[in-house]
Structure formats: structure tokens, C-alpha cells
């Protein structure tokens, strides 16, 4: 196989009739141009036109986008919302810190009015959440945990041990056997690493 073609931003790759644009490229006047410095990758998918994209090994930084599943750490809570730092988008770690907010009404899907933030999150918890909005001028990214698969995945008890989930709203400390309330996520089996 021929060596992979390299390209720099602004290189004309091909006509839009030959390929469909993927990532790292842009369209201009019916042609596909590269917008990244990287390797040109063509993928054939079925009978449709091959998808052309430009890839770099060092993963181009993703930004949290609407609908993305993010992993975040709770930094502070109050009765109306919890503030978090977004650490991962999907499985890509973020280099820089992005802040997000989980509002009280976005914690769970049912009985929204009965949510008590202190019974759902504590600072230091690792939470899986979904981005619902990029927010406006005043606010940060708005996140939700209103799905069974979303919520707290890692939490530590007052004794400092990592707690084990008991139910969707309760976790237990293996040392003291004390119970604490959390909005627990049902982690999908395929994400569990032994």
C-alpha cells in the first residue's frame, strides 16, 4: 500500500463528487480542503462515496458539545445546582478545565420537584452527565443526569473509603457500613473494565 498522504491546512484534497467530507476538512466551491495538518484517510462505507477526513495522532481536542456524554467532578453544591469540572468528553481527556452546572431540575427525570441536591451529589464525586446546552453568557455548560445510566459513578464516604452502590439512590461505605444518598448511575456493563 502506498504511504499515507500528508496534508497541511488549505490543501485541496478532492472534488465533492469523489468523496464526502468527514472530519478535519471543509468544503469550498465544490472542493474538499484540509483544515488540519495530518494524514489523509479515506474510508469506504458500503456503496456510498468514501468518507475523506484528515486525522492526527494527537487527538484533536474535542469540546463539550450538546448531547455529548461527559465525565465530571463535583466541585461545589448548593440547594439549586451543583458546579462541576468537566474532565472527559466521551473517552477523551480534556487538557483544559471547563466548568459546568447541573441544575436541580436536571438531576433526575421523575419527581423533579422533590430533588434535594445534598441527597444527590457531594463535592468530589465523579459524575457521568450529558451536555444539554452550551449555556448563555452568564452560565456555564448545562448538564443533566436525568437518565438511568447517568449520575454518580465514584463517591467517597465520610470515612474516606470508596462507596459501593446499593440502589439508584443510595451508596454504602464498606468500612463503616454507613449509608449515604446519591443519584447513582447504572453503569453500562460494556464500560466496566475488570
Amino acid at each position: 500500500m502506498s504511504p499515507m498522504k500528508l496534508c497541511v491546512p488549505g490543501d485541496k484534497l478532492c472534488s465533492v463528487e469523489d468523496c464526502t467530507p468527514g472530519t478535519g476538512v471543509y468544503l469550498r466551491h465544490g472542493y474538499i480542503y484540509s483544515s488540519l495538518a495530518g494524514y489523509v484517510l479515506k474510508k469506504n462505507e458500503g456503496e456510498e462515496l468514501p468518507v475523506i477526513s484528515v486525522v492526527r495522532e494527537t487527538e484533536t481536542q474535542l469540546l463539550p458539545d450538546v448531547g455529548a456524554i461527559v465525565t465530571c467532578k463535583v466541585t461545589s453544591i448548593n440547594p439549586r445546582f451543583a458546579k462541576v469540572h468537566i474532565l472527559y468528553v466521551g473517552s477523551t481527556p480534556l487538557k483544559d478545565r471547563f466548568r459546568g452546572t447541573i441544575r436541580k431540575e436536571d438531576v433526575r427525570a421523575t419527581e423533579k420537584d422533590k430533588v434535594e441536591m445534598y441527597k444527590c451529589f457531594r463535592p468530589g464525586d465523579i459524575v457521568l452527565a450529558k451536555v444539554i446546552s452550551l449555556g448563555d453568557v452568564q452560565s456555564n455548560y448545562l448538564l443533566t443526569t436525568a437518565e438511568n445510566e447517568l449520575g454518580v459513578v465514584v463517591a467517597h464516604s465520610e470515612a474516606g473509603a470508596q462507596m459501593v452502590p446499593n440502589s439508584w439512590c443510595e451508596m454504602q461505605c464498606p468500612l463503616t457500613h454507613g449509608k449515604e444518598f446519591r443519584k447513582v448511575a447504572r453503569v453500562q456493563p460494556e464500560y466496566l473494565h475488570a
Binding site: G10, Y33, E57, V137
Partner: protein, 274 residues
Amino acid sequence: MPVDTRRVRGPEVSQSPLLFACKPAAVFSSHGPRADGRQRDQVDVRPVFVRCGLVSQAKGSAYMEAGDTKLMCCVYGPRETERKDDTDMKCGRLTTDMRFAPFSCPERGSWIQGSQDKDFSLMLHESLQPALCLHKYPRSQIEVNVMVLENSGSVLAHAVTCASLALADAGIEMYDLVLGCAIRQDGASYVVDPTYAEENGNGSDSSDNQGRLTLAFLPSLNQVSGLQSDGEMTEESLSAGVRTCIEGCYKIYPVIQQALAKAVRRAAPPPSES
């Protein structure tokens, strides 16, 4: 504060002794070959040396040398914006900062950013912004920092080239690379990519049609993203200067392309086709 009255106190401001020294006669002669052996009236740019990725902390970085002009650029981000207003919601913000090291020019500069540095930063910003796909980076900012280590003329032009290289190295999506080129018009003749002496020298006695021009160019889109001139030029020499600068940009284009390709190859082997 107690003051020693017997001591002779110096003046409050000091000037470099260089200003008062007798200048060598031929600082910048307007005819004959140039001091570094390049041709005048020709698109004779200094050979450039560029390399990406010298600062590991930064998302992307580049170092560039053209003759004695040496500068480096680091790119950070995209990261969360500190200052927020409505425009940030749809597209990202580009911030540029260009500084001169105090020892970069013949006279010592100050660490504090002067108004000239701010002007350079602004020009850099305007030259780079059209090339960036900022709409792909909502709510975030991309920081470009240029540090001039040695100023030997045409600093802004090289800063633009270096910054676009660093941006590409950082994996920021761009429509095109941005290349910079400068000329110094001197009467009927001109020099491309002037050195510090050529840039600031007085030139020929006629003193008409003396000017400096810096241009930033997107080679693949054939667009001019930055243009700045001062001094006095006729409209004809200005247009000719723009054409010359564009030609100068094309001369360094392959060097920049190769440097980028090298950086990509060094960062990772080609991914297996799947």
C-alpha cells in the same frame, strides 16, 4: 527617602550610547547589492528555518529563524473564555500577544508591553483570524503568544508565518496557512524581507516614495488577510509591493509545508487504514 547630595545623580531617562555614536556611513545604501549579498528589486527572501513543537507544555508551538530574526510562538487552548460576552457563544475567541524580548532590538526595550507591541498584537490578530475556523470552537478561546528573541527586520511578517505554523501544530482547524512577507520601498527600487538596518535606515536622499509594507497572505485561498504600510508610497508602487509580497509568500510556502509535514510525521506514524 534620604538622598546622597554629594553624589551626582544621573538623568531620569537614559539613552543608548549607540544613538550618539558616529554611524557607519553605509547603513543602508540605496544602490548596489545589499549588505547580506541578496539582490534588490527581486523577490529575494532570506532563507528560513522553521521547526514545530519545541515547547512541550503548549498545545502547539513553532520556532522560526530568518536571517538574524528569531522568534518563537506558542498556542494554548481551546480553553474556557475568561471574559464573556455574546459573541463568544457562537464562535471562539482568538487572543494574540506579541512581545519583544528586552534584548531583541539594538536598544534595550522594557518588559512592559508598549503601545507598539499592542499594535503588533492587533495586526497579528487581524491577520490570523480570517484563517481560523473559529465557529468550531464555541465558548472557548485560543491563545497565541509570540516572543521575538532577536529583531533583525520584518518581524511582523515572520510572526504571522510562525503563528500560523504553531496553530496548525496545535491541531486548530484552519482554512489555510497564513504567510507573511514585508518589503521596503526606497525610491524606485525595493528590497524584500528587509533587515533591521534596511527597515529603519534613511535610504536614498530623494526621500520620496519611501515606505514599508507588510502583508499576510492565505496562499491556497488567494486572499490577503493582513496589510499594513507606512511611510510614503505612490499607489503604483503600493500595488506593485502587494504583488511582490504575495510572490515572496509563495517562496516560503514549501518550507512551511515541509516543516509541518515533518512535525506530523514525528508526532505519530500514519494510522493503519481500517
